[in-house]
Amino acid sequence: MSAARTATLRDAVGLGLAVGLYGVAFGAAADAAGLDVWQALVLSALMFTGASQFALVGVLGAGGSGLAAIGSALLLGTRNTVYGVRLAPLLAPRGVLRRVGAAHWVIDETTAMAVAAPDRELGRLAFWATGATIYLGWNLTTVLGALGASGLGGTAQAALDAVVPAAFLALLWPRLRRGFPEAAVQRRVALGGAVVALLLTPVVPAGVQVVAAVVAVALAGRPRTEADELASSPGDGAAPRTRPTSAREEDS
């Protein structure tokens, strides 16, 4: 095996082990939200996208409706669609079966590893190796977390209650850190999302405030491209949500 392949595999397995730790936190969060071990495991096996899984159990744990929980999970799942578009030429999955299989592992980590690989062959190896190690580790540790968290006493429960928001913060943190594209804008949107959610908490049914916080994306402003300049309308430019009409005009 070439040195490049070995290095790619080593990175993939290392990342898989690291991400596995999040599985423990997810299993514990699912238990805290009232899900049983099977439901936690089905989420990790079938949904297999961490932020959406955390969002689903987070909203359910906060007393939210199934609809609000599904909505927040799907909103967070949209970025995997963009990853898929980026990965399609690299993976070029031949046949329906391979595409259906590859799609299941289109997540943050596999995309990052595949896109960062020096060539296309290593990119594919990185995708499949990262996907396989994370899939195994994530499901295994989900069960450990869910079993470990069940039957905790009062003080341990208070500890778990404090672990869940910390886990969400740890998921969010890399986006806010210097070095992430437009980190300052990410911070503004994050602050806006938190403020919207807290303001709405007393007045909307539980969970709805999380989905509604997506309006804070408007704080990101308009995309900065020439095509956008042609299609944009005058104004404060801070409302992507009001712009589907102009985007449609742009395409026709």
Binding site: A69, T81, V100, V163, P165, A166, Q186, G192
Partner: protein
């Protein structure tokens, strides 16, 4: 919430998230790679994850509350800023929450 409702939410959300992934590999790139689509998708995680942090740390039902969770969150933020590993961040947050529970209890 009944077990059936939970299962419905689990399965519908899981299938939906899978279809979002499959769509990325299946639809023409031009459908997705429009400036405003990518712009929104880039920032949805920040808005939603921050909302979840706030709701998980500072609310209980319809009420805003301050308890050990918020103290744990502050400690977690400090640990993250100091680049502590994930498991250390969670352990410190959990220990803080437990400490506040014992002191307040």
């Amino acid at each position: 919430m009944s077990s059936g409702t939970l299962w419905t939410a689990v399965l519908v959300a899981a299938v939906g998230c899978y279809l979002l992934k499959l769509a990325g590999l299946s639809v023409p790139a031009a459908w997705v790679e429009r400036p405003w689509v990518t712009r929104v998708v880039e920032f949805v995680p920040a808005a939603l994850l921050a909302a979840l942090v706030a709701v998980q740390a500072a609310t209980s039902g319809p009420a805003l509350v301050v308890d050990g969770r918020l103290a744990g969150l502050a400690v977690a933020a400090l640990a993250l800023a100091l680049r502590a590993p994930f498991i250390v961040v969670l352990a410190l947050a959990g220990a803080t929450g437990a400490l506040v529970h014992v002191l307040a209890g």
